[in-house]
């Protein structure tokens, strides 16, 4: 498993409690429309991601984080910057 998939996997497991309908999660799954997370739930998810990867994900990035893939890419980028 490469690193990017690892990040995706970890985000998917964080999404577990939010995925009440048990929808299959892929890179293209849209957090708001497919999983029906409202703005508060998305911010809670962000906090969980921050703690999982020990990074800061500013609220300013939210408009660009619509899919799980976009979230994984953002996390990857922030983790790299930190190094």
């Amino acid at each position: 498993m490469n690193k990017e998939n690892d990040i995706l996997e970890r985000i998917c497991s964080l999404l577990g409690p939010f995925n009440k309908e048990g929808i299959a999660l892929t890179r293209d799954t849209n957090i708001a429309t497919d999983l029906e997370l409202d703005s508060l739930a998305v911010m809670d998810l962000l906090a969980a991601i921050e703690d999982e990867f020990d990074i800061s994900v500013p609220l300013n990035m939210l408009p660009d984080l619509e899919t799980i893939g976009q979230m994984a890419d953002a996390v990857e980028e922030i983790v790299q910057e930190k190094k």
């Binding site: 703005s39 508060l40 739930a41 906090a47 020990d54 800061s56 500013p58 609220l59 300013n60």
Partner: protein, 437 residues
């Protein structure tokens, strides 16, 4: 294609809820204000239990007199912004009064509390700075962050350890503005300011802004708010507040000891590009601050009312916010129940706020009461009685609470021995039907 297409889901939701006949929350019109605690709504005398008018100063005699005199002397409005023709001697006197009250070097007055937060949040922190906001902060704080260029991080509500973790991730060599509220308006919970200031002290280049909108007049020996209550005012860098709650009028302010605080008058856009407060509003606010300072008895009455309402509802079996405070929020299971509960309250002559997500934390549906020092004990008991009656009608309180020490709850009169009400197990008073009152 229509410009308003994006609102279609909202229009559908509104119509589904509102087009069922009867009063709607956004359509409430106070036809006559009888007193700080009573209004005529739809021809009905209604107890106001959701107005943020904590100390009941909207009809305070000295404030009224000062406003009347200022109205006659200065006219109905300033027609100008503070930096142009909108600064009168009254505005300067109000800022001096605020600085004296809070013991700070600087004080700025804004046209609303919303603009005070928009100003501070959008201006204090720039593109290289960070703002850390409590998750449950008011919309004006979120909006202020959006208006500015800082990087915004959200930490878990009332959780100093979570804040510290997030502060440390950002490192020591950047400016960090921490934003919390003294008393949160949705559930009435108080920020552990004593803990937050310790976190701030441990992290270099961090600043603390406390929004005392709901705690000013309500907490602290002289009513300065939560920071005074916890004895930590010297560790707070900026206090933001509003005149539209305890002060009883409209407007906002910020006080600070920062040596360059005054430069914000030339940098805060929501301060610069709006007209200043009218002289009458300024005069009543200035007068009310003295009243707040000198009226510990009003705070005592307010808290006694709050505790009475909280314990009465809690003992009846309602799910409430964590602690008694002048904001008492009753949680209900769904939007539909919240709405029909709210409608029944209005039709029973009790006005409270219906609060729904995303304004509420954790997607809760809330019937939010705010208390007033001017509420009488009888009014509080009537509110409790009405709540219990409606909850029974809607089958929301599984444990029968209509039998209160053997007395039947009546919504028309006062509620006898509420303080003695037992949550469970309830005795059914010989064959009395639920909520016959």
């Amino acid at each position: 294609m229509d410009l308003f297409d994006k609102f279609l889901p909202l229009i559908r939701d509104r119509d589904a809820l509102f087009n069922t006949g009867g009063p709607v929350p956004t359509g409430i019109c106070m036809d006559e204000i009888v007193s700080q605690t009573v209004a005529i709504i739809d021809g009905r005398e209604t107890i106001l239990a959701g107005t943020n008018n904590y100390l009941g100063l909207t009809f305070e005699k000295k404030s009224l007199k000062a406003a009347e005199e200022a109205l006659k002397a200065g006219g109905t409005g300033t027609t100008g912004s503070r930096n142009c023709n909108g600064t009168y001697s009254g505005h300067k006197a109000l800022e001096a009064k605020l600085a004296e009250f809070y013991g700070t070097k600087g004080a700025m007055v804004f046209s609303t509390g919303y603009q005070a937060n928009l100003s501070m949040l959008s201006t204090l922190a720039g593109p290289k700075d960070y703002i850390l906001i409590d998750a449950d902060c008011h919309a004006s704080i979120y909006d202020g962050c959006k208006l500015g260029n800082a990087t915004v991080i959200r930490f878990r509500h009332n959780d100093p350890a979570d804040l510290e973790k997030r502060l440390k991730r950002l490192g020591d060599d950047v400016n960090k503005l921490i934003v919390i509220e003294g008393l949160y308006s949705m559930l009435g919970d108080v920020a552990p300011l004593d803990e937050f200031v310790k976190v701030k002290a441990r992290v270099p280049h961090s600043y603390l802004l406390v929004d005392e909108a709901h705690s000013m007049g309500v907490m602290g020996e002289t009513g300065r708010g939560a920071a005074e209550h916890f004895g930590v005012e010297d560790q707070v860098d900026f206090i933001v507040g509003t005149f539209s709650k305890s002060v009883g009028t409209i407007g906002g302010f910020c006080v600070s000891n920062h040596p360059h605080f005054d430069i914000l008058r030339l940098a805060c856009r929501p301060y610069m590009f709006t007209a200043s407060l009218p002289p009458s509003v300024v005069a009543s606010a200035t007068t009310a601050i003295d009243t707040i300072k000198n009226s510990p008895h009003l705070r005592e009455k307010l808290w006694n009312n709050a505790k009475r309402l909280y314990s009465g509802l809690s003992e009846a079996g309602f799910t409430l916010g964590a602690e008694p405070s002048p904001v008492v929020a009753i949680k209900v299971p769904s939007l539909e129940i919240a709405f029909s509960f709210w409608r029944s309250l209005i039709e029973s002559g009790v006005y409270v706020n219906l609060m729904v997500p995303p304004a509420t934390p954790q997607n809760w549906y809330l019937l939010r009461c705010s208390l007033c020092a001017a509420h009488t004990t009888e009014q509080i008991d009537t509110i409790i009685g009405v709540f219990i009656k409606i909850a029974h009608d809607l089958d929301l309180l599984p444990q029968a609470t209509e039998a209160v020490n053997g007395n039947t709850v009546s919504i028309n009169g006062t509620l006898p021995s509420v303080a003695g009400a037992k949550r469970a197990p309830a005795r059914r008073a010989g064959g009395a039907a639920a909520a016959t009152g």
